[in-house]
């Protein structure tokens, strides 16, 4: 048995070096050379400074910006250093209260809009960092954003269309609008 313990120790060490050091470092090396932007977080820069990641949402609350989905991260929404969902069950009164509050906020920011609210705009995402909203959730906000910015509705719609991705291969996933990129685009338009 002693011989097998020694073999186990040596094999465990060899495998740790191979799969725990050589493998991740090799992948890191290749990734940094071939896909440096993706490997480092797909960051978006303005004036040489990172202003976010195209894959991570932000907690917009100003009417002139499209709002991301609600985020359950703490202590601040869209805390990309501590991801997570609300984990509220479907019958939990806390969930209904939260959704009610979000509906009230959306209605208050846009009192004339009476269309039904798309579900993704009032429910929090699994990661708390969802960078996307559905095209319906973007359309729901178009008039508000256009009004707050003094742009016409069609200009804003075109901006939304530029940042809308359809299903991959027409099949996988869902159509979606990237909110951070869309808002930066609108800011750039008016600069």
């Amino acid at each position: 048995m002693l011989r097998q313990v020694k073999q186990a120790l040596l094999l465990f060490t060899a495998m740790s070096i191979l799969t725990g050091v050589v493998y991740p470092l090799a992948i890191t090396g290749i990734a940094q050379v071939v896909f440096p932007r993706q490997a480092n977080g797909s960051l978006i820069y303005r004036n040489g400074q990172p202003v976010g990641s195209e894959l991570i949402g932000q907690g917009f609350t100003d009417p002139k910006y499209f709002w991301c989905r609600p985020s359950a991260t703490s202590p601040v929404a869209y805390n990309a250093a501590a991801s997570g969902g609300s984990n509220l069950g479907p019958t939990n009164p806390e969930l209904l209260k939260a959704v009610w509050g979000r509906i009230a906020a959306l209605r208050a920011a846009d009192p004339t809009n009476e269309s039904p609210i798309p579900v993704d705009l009032v429910t929090s995402s699994g990661s708390g960092l969802d960078p996307h909203i559905s095209p319906a959730a973007a359309e729901f906000q178009v008039a508000r954003v256009a009004g707050a910015r003094g742009l016409d509705v069609e200009t804003v719609r075109q901006a939304v269309a530029r940042h809308t991705a359809s299903r991959t291969l027409g099949l996988l996933g869902e159509p979606r609008v990237n909110v951070v990129e869309l808002n930066l685009d609108l800011d750039d338009l008016q600069r």
């Binding site: 050091v21 202003v51 703490s74």
Partner: protein
């Protein structure tokens, strides 16, 4: 139901079935030591490892030796993860200066990763240094998966050999699983994931200036967003391939930097079931009758597909309580609709529901949406898939060896019906095999029900519950179903990082893994010693639709009889409450 979701399911199953034969055939060659096409790339490394470690790969082991070497290697893995977690503040590659993990959390995480469970009481980006992730968790992702595959191969040899005293060499099976199967697939997969945006870096977390400053919970203005990074892609791919499932980040595969696009979502989904599906073919190939492998795979699919559809339908139907508030949950070309709490827009309901079923059918446990926020029936599906003892695909290796034990039970039941000595694959099934098989199928339910009962009966157990009413019971039941079957997914509202849950769940994970693996190896040893029994007119053929149904019946019956009472008090009561408004 939307057409896109159904088509995604169809494409998913089609890809898996298409890959089953080539990969399964390749793995059979790997374990039989035949040329397999990758010898030029890793053969020298394999020989070097044997030489450095003083291993003779041709040395045969009795089942007892095989089990002991397996336990020693797993114990070392447990110790290494524990030590890394406790000492990470003193070690390099900790750019965020994260502190050492508490002893109970370190113990839970070490048990979790040694047993291929990957229950997450840790928080990824808030708890683990880059070194702990790479040298602790990722290594266990490889070795625990390879351990499961090795035990399966040993069991298959038990069927193949006759009048033999040994079942192979654990070092050989472990090394070849890693070098020839897990590592090459991981290298390719990791690079694909990085190309789509999964991070792979050793830089510290990035600080970005927010487009619009915001306020935190205490009203303080926040101008910056700290974006957690790390060597994620290399770990994410093996956590899927090896049915491990532990997240690099807290939000696991819902996190956009672990799973940024529908394409990565699909690739990771394929990785979750790929090896488990292909091993069915490997089994058939190695026992010399591929129909046997297809029959077992068919039984898995017969259970999987209806549950997948049920879970999807429940989630797409949405939450009736939200409809009363005037929220639009209808699915269409402009929005996913359905129950979107805890789900990501890019995955919608379709890919989320496929993932929930696949990750719990396999003992993977990674999540791309938060199961705690699923509708009652949507949450029942993953919970029950785990409670079926993780044999519908199950963990790599461990799922199939569990299913083969159920096949032994099935031939035994059939034998009782017609009054003949049961046989499976030319081996007589006798008292010793049945005793061991009974252990294998009874231990996980015992751990689940006793563990959940203990948690419900004690203040420490109840303290962890976050949702009121029957959903709270579901959280506890889900936790022990997950740990007691080495899955690792959670109804994550449960506060599991407490001494009670850390210890109770760790014990459940250890018992579920080794108290099943050891009796399985005992069966392998006993079968290998037997003579081959020639088939006769009275032998029950085990590749027919009749046998597939018999096998499905046994799995469902054991799972249903054991768990329906508990499920009735959790998700089923909640469903009635929700429907009643």
């Amino acid at each position: 139901m939307t057409g896109h979701a159904i088509l995604q399911m169809g494409l998913y199953l089609a890809v898996l079935l298409l890959l089953a034969k080539p990969l399964g055939w390749y793995m059979a060659r790997v374990y039989e030591g035949k040329p397999c096409g990758l010898g030029w790339a890793v053969g020298w490394l394999e020989r070097l490892i044997y030489r450095l470690c003083g291993i003779d790969p041709t040395e045969e082991m009795a089942w007892t030796t095989y089990a002991k070497t397996m336990l020693v290697l797993n114990l070392l893995g447990f110790g290494a993860v524990y030590a890394l977690l406790r000492l990470q503040h003193l070690l390099p590659l900790n750019p965020e200066h994260l502190a050492a993990a508490a002893p109970d959390l370190a113990m839970n995480t070490a048990a979790s990763f040694a047993t291929n469970t990957n229950w997450q009481n840790y928080g990824g980006e808030t708890t683990l240094s880059y070194l702990t992730q790479m040298l602790g968790l990722a290594v266990q992702n490889f070795l625990s998966a390879a351990t499961g595959m090795a035990v399966l191969v040993a069991l298959i040899r038990g069927f193949v050999r006759h009048s033999a005293q040994t079942i192979g060499n654990f070092w050989y099976d472990l090394t070849r699983s890693t070098l020839y199967i897990l590592l090459p697939l991981s290298v390719v997969g990791a690079l694909l994931l990085v190309s789509q945006g999964v991070v792979q870096t050793l830089r510290p977390y990035e600080r970005a200036t927010l487009v619009q400053p915001t306020k935190d919970a205490s009203g303080k203005t926040v101008n910056e967003q700290t974006i957690a990074l790390g060597p994620a892609a290399s770990q994410v791919i093996i956590k899927q391939l090896g049915t491990n499932g532990g997240g690099f980040f807290n939000a696991n595969s819902a996190h956009p930097l672990e799973n940024p696009t529908p394409l990565t979502g699909f690739l990771e989904l394929v990785a979750i079931l790929l090896i488990a599906v292909a091993l069915c073919y490997t089994f058939g190939e190695m026992v010399g009758d591929t129909r046997q492998g297809w029959a077992v795979l068919a039984a898995m699919l017969v259970i999987f597909v209806p549950l997948l559809l049920l879970g999807y339908a429940a989630e797409q139907a949405g939450n009736p309580l939200l409809s009363t508030l005037g929220v639009d949950q209808s699915a269409g070309s402009q929005q996913p609709g359905g129950n979107m709490e805890g789900k990501e827009v890019r995955f919608g309901i379709g890919q989320s529901a496929i993932w929930a079923a696949a990750t719990t059918a396999a003992s993977n446990g990674s999540v791309n949406s938060m199961h705690d926020s699923y509708t009652p029936m949507g949450g029942l599906v993953p919970m029950w898939l785990m409670q079926l003892s993780e044999v519908v695909f199950g963990g790599v290796g461990s799922g199939l060896y569990g299913m083969l034990v159920f096949a032994i039970i099935a031939v035994f039941v059939a034998g009782l019906m017609v009054g003949r000595t049961p046989e499976y694959l030319g081996k007589k099934i006798e008292a010793f095999e049945m005793k061991m098989a009974a252990l294998v199928i009874l231990i996980p339910p015992l751990l689940v029900l006793v563990g959940a009962a203990l948690a419900v009966a004690t203040p420490w157990g109840k303290a962890g519950v976050s949702n009121p009413g029957p959903h709270g019971l579901s959280e506890i039941l889900y936790a022990f179903s997950s740990a007691g079957n080495n899955n690792g997914s959670a109804f994550a509202g449960l506060t599991g990082n407490t001494p009670f849950y850390n210890v109770a769940l760790a014990l459940a994970m250890l018992a579920a893994r080794y108290w099943v693996a050891i009796p399985t190896l005992a069966i392998a040893g006993s079968l290998a010693r037997k003579k081959a029994t020639p088939t006769s007119a009275g032998t029950l053929p085990t590749h027919t639709p009749l046998f597939v149904l018999l096998l499905v019946g046994v799995v469902i019956l054991v799972g249903a009889l054991t768990f329906v009472p508990a499920l009735a008090l959790g998700p089923i009561v909640e469903q009635l409450m929700m429907a009643g408004g």
